[in-house]
Symmetry: D2
Subunit: 346 residues, 4 copies
Amino acid sequence: MHDDYYRYKKLRAAIVGASGYAGTELLRLLLDHPEVKVTALYVSEQSVDAGKQIDEIDGRLCGRTDLKLQPLSDPEAAAENIEIVFLATEHEVSARLAPVFLEKCVKVFDLSGAFRLADPKLYPKHYGFEHAHPELLEDAVYALPEYVDEARLREANLISLPGCYPTASQLALRPLIDAGLLDLSMPPVIDAVSGVSGAGRKAKLSNAFCEVSLSAYGIFTHRHRPEIEEHLGGVPVIFNPHLGAFKRGILATITAKLAPGADEEAIERVYERAYTEHAFVRVRQGLPKLDDVVNQPYCDIGFKVSDTGYIVIVSAIDNLLKGAASQAVQAMNMRLELPEDTGFSV
Amino acid sequence: MHDDYYRYKKLRAAIVGASGYAGTELLRLLLDHPEVKVTALYVSEQSVDAGKQIDEIDGRLCGRTDLKLQPLSDPEAAAENIEIVFLATEHEVSARLAPVFLEKCVKVFDLSGAFRLADPKLYPKHYGFEHAHPELLEDAVYALPEYVDEARLREANLISLPGCYPTASQLALRPLIDAGLLDLSMPPVIDAVSGVSGAGRKAKLSNAFCEVSLSAYGIFTHRHRPEIEEHLGGVPVIFNPHLGAFKRGILATITAKLAPGADEEAIERVYERAYTEHAFVRVRQGLPKLDDVVNQPYCDIGFKVSDTGYIVIVSAIDNLLKGAASQAVQAMNMRLELPEDTGFSV
Amino acid sequence: MHDDYYRYKKLRAAIVGASGYAGTELLRLLLDHPEVKVTALYVSEQSVDAGKQIDEIDGRLCGRTDLKLQPLSDPEAAAENIEIVFLATEHEVSARLAPVFLEKCVKVFDLSGAFRLADPKLYPKHYGFEHAHPELLEDAVYALPEYVDEARLREANLISLPGCYPTASQLALRPLIDAGLLDLSMPPVIDAVSGVSGAGRKAKLSNAFCEVSLSAYGIFTHRHRPEIEEHLGGVPVIFNPHLGAFKRGILATITAKLAPGADEEAIERVYERAYTEHAFVRVRQGLPKLDDVVNQPYCDIGFKVSDTGYIVIVSAIDNLLKGAASQAVQAMNMRLELPEDTGFSV
Amino acid sequence: MHDDYYRYKKLRAAIVGASGYAGTELLRLLLDHPEVKVTALYVSEQSVDAGKQIDEIDGRLCGRTDLKLQPLSDPEAAAENIEIVFLATEHEVSARLAPVFLEKCVKVFDLSGAFRLADPKLYPKHYGFEHAHPELLEDAVYALPEYVDEARLREANLISLPGCYPTASQLALRPLIDAGLLDLSMPPVIDAVSGVSGAGRKAKLSNAFCEVSLSAYGIFTHRHRPEIEEHLGGVPVIFNPHLGAFKRGILATITAKLAPGADEEAIERVYERAYTEHAFVRVRQGLPKLDDVVNQPYCDIGFKVSDTGYIVIVSAIDNLLKGAASQAVQAMNMRLELPEDTGFSV
């Protein structure tokens, strides 16, 4: 299935944090990529997973690769033989590792929050640590593929991937805000439910099967709120994240006030225009349901308009794909000047 | 387990629609009630369940009663030997049946929407039928137990039980609205997720196990919106109902704008005051999760306040209990001048 | 709801391991018990839960008790003011604690495996520790309520409750084996699926929501196999336990060979006779499904017979109730010479 | 994503029963196939789905094809412009349709049970209908890809695909039986749990979300038992199917008695030999869990051996893929003399 015919000319990539849920999805996607080949899988030095076969972590990968999980004991050495690295690591770890790979001219695709906010002062508040490399924040390109400045992306070496909730939220709101169709005197209310994989592959009581039950968390304090607000151009939002008792996916239901004159037709036109050139955003006739996008690289968007001047938009993604791994591959494709859907078989 | 010592003086009750999810919960609750005894279980004449033992419908009830499901072929006769009837029936059926029982001086507890709205003209629009007995709408008492006028309830013979979403919504919003703590220039945004039992015990493709997936529905059109608005005293709300892939429970996340001066302390005081005398609303320190209330007669309420003047309230109920069956028993207790928690063992 | 009128004459009970899943179920059941009152809730000294309100652990219990979780720092002192203790603790902890309470004439109901096997030499092999008090194994009464010697139980002070799988298995097999209806030359094959709560309330990766997926485990090595075999009177079985992606319940499907002449009628008669006097075993017409018993104190049993001489028995329990907490209360009732269903409202 | 460059030389295929769960999976797989192109999607004439876009049925397919669901009103005409047809239809419908397509020299891949049993007399008993074309049973090739006679398959025009349970069961048992490693005096006991999609996309109460709960069904009577027994060469088995509360996948746990001398090493060798040349059976070190194969075309197999002479084999598949759609594509590839994994990207 994985043709190695062209192996000699494929770009080599490493995944750091390869035992996490986004890490294994990255590997799965890249095993089918025609231009990029994963050559190393890293976990932290202390990880109990170091030395394991990847299919001990994710049984779906049995028989698909011989790569083992290695401890990342010498990042400089790891950087030697690769052109690309994916950091599917904790925020603080990404902040420390990125410059090591950049120094060796490795293109860095960071799936953490380490480079998503422009202002270093926000890190202690929202992420709980002092940013180790604030000087890099300026150079990092925030690559929401449908909205990134492609010219800038093509020259970037530090690519910061959006968070999962911010992806679902921005893809729903950006077209309307850009077109002036919303009355922002009422902050858009983003209610979103995420599967448990969003909390990572960790032995925590709050992740335990019997403890998980539909619930709100991080109300007014979740770190994805400032990310959403910054990348919507400074629009305040109310962000109500929830944990749902399912494994994968995010469904965001967004309520906003329409600007005078904004009607269904105008909204539809604006969405169509925004995404017609993009493979992975689908504007739906009705409202998407979660299963439409689980295990899929898509963001599905639908909406309803009231006769009292409000809109409700529903946006659905797989948090591990369009909210993480497939978005990273999509951004990588664009960085490499390939069609954004290269290597995806859906 | 069910002491029949006092049977001779128990009031006799029938359940119409006894094979539905609310019907079997009603039966389960009343099997333990010290003052009321279920003496008949009815289904519609055409029902395939007519003649069945109740444990063929709900295995939990095996061995707990000998009552069989009977077709309700002669409602007048059915009304003869009972003092109380619960209508867990379709809206239109309730509208037709209520006067038959009322005529025979049977107290009617209606779990459908047939008597929830004051204006008969709303029925064609929101329920899809012309109300057969609009003259009864005025007499019906809408019995949200924590807010009903008890004096009026004690004289009522037609008691209309609130819908599931309206229960969760009103219990969260009423105290704050009554105390003037909300700025209603922004309509409260009610995002709620319900388990599939809310759709009833029916063979419909949309209820099929593999078809259910987290999704929004009825945006701007759900019939519970006018009910909520009417019983909040005419406050417009935005109501975003969702179906979740679980069996029971509703979690409602409500975003509202605070009136100037409304702070956490004032809000807490208002909630405490509202529910301190009531057994089945629990004001929580943090935010409730769904499992806290599933299989429980409680509505749990928690909230968070932002420093920008907004509040998010989370309200959780079991849609079949506080959203239907246990609420009906609670209202019945109050009607019978018993403590509202009579017969509940939690 | 919890009448304290008779409090002065209730027996006092403590629960050790009260923050675990069986612990909170025990508390929930005993809050409604007319003769026993829980007066203390203990966790281990190192537990992060020490000092917490119980509703921080299990939100269902909010408002139902003021008892806090205390560290069990001085078991002797804890034994002073109680007549009954439930040990919902790790096997090794139970083995150490039981004699402390016994010394103070406290009746000990142990939900662990510490006293289930007669032979102390089996503990290192199956439980991984050397039994601290092998001398007690002889005195401990193994209290499967439907099969225990009641005279012996009424004099016992150390009552060992069966494991969850052994409960489902024995209740299905004992009547047939006792009546000689099985051909035991083929070992009965017990395939059982348990909800995740069976693994306890722990932060373990294998319990994490996204890691759980239907799977077999402990094939040929599970410690409940020797327990089943011993209490079936030395009958070898093949025991195939599985973990299922649900919270509560066990469904056991048991295949066995019939002895010559054993037919459906004989089997039905034997089951009827075995359980007609017992409140919590229900012999069903068809085969039970899991939801029939979840949150219920019952074991439901159904069976099918082939025309080739085999029987398949399906046995269902809630692992936390009939497999743990409600069974302990049932055994306690019998020990106290109360009807076995005292305090249960189902 | 789906390159149509080679469209002109692709074989044309139709899917009958395209709105069912196997039907949409077939379409998803074939959209990526390099040699075959789906040119028509049919549903029955009475189907409410006739005329719909496929993404109204399965949202995952939004944007992937313009094909609409057509009523199959004229099968002869439908057969005109295709080389291949997949019948994902009811058993009786397949029995009637197959000869229509065969007459037009269309290769028929039937996913129903219509051609799985050699003896027409078994159809009334196990399938509830008299076979309309018993003369075809002889010609039909039962294509379990890993065991089919490839020479015969390459000449076949009527290819019958195995059932889902029989696939999981045979792949686990065939190597051991063929090698004489089992003592068949004890019938292998096959306990299997299937996701609800196995019951098809239908509005039935037994499929309703709230009705589904882990349960056994079809004990001693399921129609897959005679299929398993026939294709194992006449070996009697005990087959205990279960419905689980999940959407996709089958986990089969099989208990069998080992022949004298059969040890772990011999078993491992036999499995290795059986599947080393096959892409879609993976012999695992440990035991597979269900999620390892969901959405995957694999059958994963693991086993444990006791020191008392028994073996427990666990076999896992996705019932809609290796149990239906991907197996059909795999068989089609072999029929077309392509590598069996052509068009699979995993």
